[in-house]
Subunit: 597 residues, 2 copies
Amino acid sequence: MPAYKAPVKETLFLLNDVFNIEQYRSLRGFEDLSPDLLSAIFEEAGKLAGEVLQPINLSGDQQGCKRLPDGSITTPDGFIAAYNTLKDGGWVGLSADEAHGGQGLPATLTILINEYFASANLAFGMYAGLSQGAYAALNVHASDDVKSKFMEKLASGEWTGTMNLTEPHCGTDLGLLRTKAVRADDGSYNISGTKIFISAGDHDLAENIVHLVLARIEGAPEGTKGVSLFVVPKRKVDADGNAAETNGVTCGSLEEKMGIHGNATCVMNFDDANGWLIGEENRGLKAMFVMMNEARMGVAVQGLSVSEAAYQNAVTYARDRLQGRSLTGPKFPDKIADPIIVHPDIRRTLMSIRSFNEAARALIVWTALKSDEAHRTPDSDARQKASDHLSLLTPVLKGVLTDRGFDNTVAAQQVYGGHGYISEWGMEQFVRDARIPMIYEGANGIQALDLVGRKLPADGGRALQAFLGEIGMFIQAHATDEDMQPFVLPLKTAAEDLQAATMWFMQNALGNPDHAGAGSTDYMHMFGLVSLGYMWARMAHVCLQQKSEGKGDVAFHDDKLLLGTFFAERHLPETAFRRVRVENGSESMMKMAADRF
Amino acid sequence: MPAYKAPVKETLFLLNDVFNIEQYRSLRGFEDLSPDLLSAIFEEAGKLAGEVLQPINLSGDQQGCKRLPDGSITTPDGFIAAYNTLKDGGWVGLSADEAHGGQGLPATLTILINEYFASANLAFGMYAGLSQGAYAALNVHASDDVKSKFMEKLASGEWTGTMNLTEPHCGTDLGLLRTKAVRADDGSYNISGTKIFISAGDHDLAENIVHLVLARIEGAPEGTKGVSLFVVPKRKVDADGNAAETNGVTCGSLEEKMGIHGNATCVMNFDDANGWLIGEENRGLKAMFVMMNEARMGVAVQGLSVSEAAYQNAVTYARDRLQGRSLTGPKFPDKIADPIIVHPDIRRTLMSIRSFNEAARALIVWTALKSDEAHRTPDSDARQKASDHLSLLTPVLKGVLTDRGFDNTVAAQQVYGGHGYISEWGMEQFVRDARIPMIYEGANGIQALDLVGRKLPADGGRALQAFLGEIGMFIQAHATDEDMQPFVLPLKTAAEDLQAATMWFMQNALGNPDHAGAGSTDYMHMFGLVSLGYMWARMAHVCLQQKSEGKGDVAFHDDKLLLGTFFAERHLPETAFRRVRVENGSESMMKMAADRF
């Protein structure tokens, strides 16, 4: 049976020591966040993850969700009780506005706590995660009247949320969607159509479900310019704000899928279902993007989550499994064999995963804090910079953390040998679960295109310049610090590769956009490597500083310095290879006729 | 529903044009293999794969094998009928000796046909594949008496075979095994113990199952030096050679696993089961290695198989799925959107897979022919060279083709977006099925160690020198051929990287074997890249030659030249990155204490 222990110490090190959350204490929601309070919150969240959510992860996968003959959906055993614990603890609305009954804490906290929840139970964590996304979209775009109907219930977790975008013939290209909306006399709309792949689309955890639905108002223009966003509850809301009669929203079937079996992935049928417009008519994609960007960050975190859970279990197995002897002679001659953790190839695997995980978590903290800053600082210059960072890094986080996170679960599974393929050990579930974050909320190829085609050129490349500028300044600031050279020298080379690839795009892809498409995925991964390498340099700097001051936990610092060295030696050099690929352009792949594939 | 069409033209191009199978016509079994006969055999095998095995692949996965209350095991619907077709067509014993009722054809043919069968239905193909492995092991090591009991039945497919190695506490380290053998008065042995992960361990396809079992004879030395190999049938064999009463061999349970659900993976209980020694006492591992090497080659092929099936389906989807527009403007303005095959990132994915598949198939053909040569040529010098090649390349094929094959199924699944995660499309099955070849028959980390620790240094590095020598000569021979430069120049660089990494091991790993362990996986992949790059250079040469002679199919040649260029541009440069990793050694990963992971 797999296990999970939330890495609270890691989280606190990042918040307090590396990114100095203290500096934000003047911002709304940060005021009371002393180190002690932070510690208490994350300890409690970690406990919930390890003791409540993790024990129903494997059983939830094996049991799955069920659609009963009456069309209702049940979640696996234990999900209702666990959800009630989550809800009663106020975890769903931790970052929701106090006006809506939330706790008003920074989004950063919710993002980092969701890491724990998804590590413990990805399928379960999605229910609350989607509510938070729906809350965010409504909070920005909904009318006060609509807000009054839904915000408190979403914040409390009494009701849950969903995103209804995909239809059988359209996923990425939402301009093709056909679900229609007809205006009613009272200003509301009646929605009809079929949506597929709807996570948490129906279930027994909450008495009502708040669907955000993209649809086309009768007579609207074709394409993306005719798409509007609606909120459509599963059950109508009565005058007292309570869930009342059904509303023409049904789950037609559950999708049979590779993993996340504990989450109900539904085909949703809307049959003259009553709903309200969110934001302006025909501007639905813009409104939906608030939710999608939120969701992309959440999905990025899932990549780390499963990677972390897989790592922890692989370490336990590698310490326990006695098989063969160390290449340099028996290390435990009194045992029948050495534990496989003596083998360099096993250590290579484990350190690859961990050196990614720790830097990925740092990248999430850094970006999450920028997200809060973008929403909460009164300083317009800081707001723009934070917003630039968030916008630039979101596709990188989503694409790279989920790609690498999946690879890491596969590598961790490999540590188990044949047992990794057997369900009861739980590793194959991690692989199946970790596969979906690469796909949903925009498949990773789309993230790469978003980065290269939209985020790089935005505002004359301002965001990228700021990003590379900060890294360049850091490298320069530590150019004469000998202990920092193992981190900043490889980072410098990697950043130069990234800069060269960017330059190549500027010189070549403007004339032929296929060159940008051909190199986009490699570029995104270069960007990820440089970002992760920078995180290691920052963490190493803090560790060296604390060591020199005799502060903190020496073993903790030494581990970090070792992991950072490992990452710099073995992962950063990948940028050179990726750069070669980018600079090869698109010729060989565009030349082949479609019917010759 | 996924589909599959066997790449017969590819197979024949490799056999006839690239590797000139004609040159072997003097060897046993090759005499009658005219191009026409080869074409007929592969066409027929392809038909069987596409029309009989493929249609029961998805349903076989969904239904799985079942253990009935009486302990018997059933395979999914359609498996019995398909197996009978396979058996009646003489496919199981295609390469078995004519003395045993086989067709005496080269092993190369069986290996290449098994590619088709495993593409169509990996779980199904394993039943016959294991019989072929058991046949090979018995053919080399069994006494005439034992052979007379089993060989004809295995060759005809009436009975099937298995390998019983793994026990709960030992997989890689077989020296730890506990299954015991007690000598009976008649010279046979009674075997008792439990084996796990036994593919095709029990089923309803054949009236008897021939288990090859590793066990320890009472009083034998500890460790690998006390392990013997036995043949233990499910049912005893009567004087007429027919299956008679049961023999204390039962399937205790079926393993719940990630994939290959159509294959019965059994926990096997041996309870005083009667069997016969194969080969010498306490030399069981040596005898088993015949079967394992055979099996490793077969598993390597499975890596290609699933990659090929995944590729074919991803191409179909990419041509059919209309979504978005080309980056350079609409290509099908009359349709609601362009098919996604217009996108460079999709083409990159597809060409990556295909440029691997075609070179991997070439590598299999090259090595399979060497295997036949090693077994069948009367020329002792040629035999040694062929045997060196086979020995050196087996771990590379197993490790690289299954690692990359799996990655390719994941990439092909990604082309489908959300549909890739849904079972009915079949792509997620390919991923789950393709995961096991990386693990069984020696996890890929073990293959890498076998390559670096055993195969490289064997006979003073003779095999490696011959391998690199051949590639060096090829590069030199084409040094002034301008059309060949896109293939030989990147190959030259890659081969130099491989040579440098080898040199680094020689200079560093003799003193510290951990350096070899730390770099082994990267080295294996470098070796694979150079091997595949060499295959592309050879194929390109044949294509250019045939083009210049006005022979053959121009479009076929042009596709190959494009794919070869793509591989050289985008995959071969990976050796430089892998080399950096090898040369970084083991320090960072060995320094961390086991309890700090």
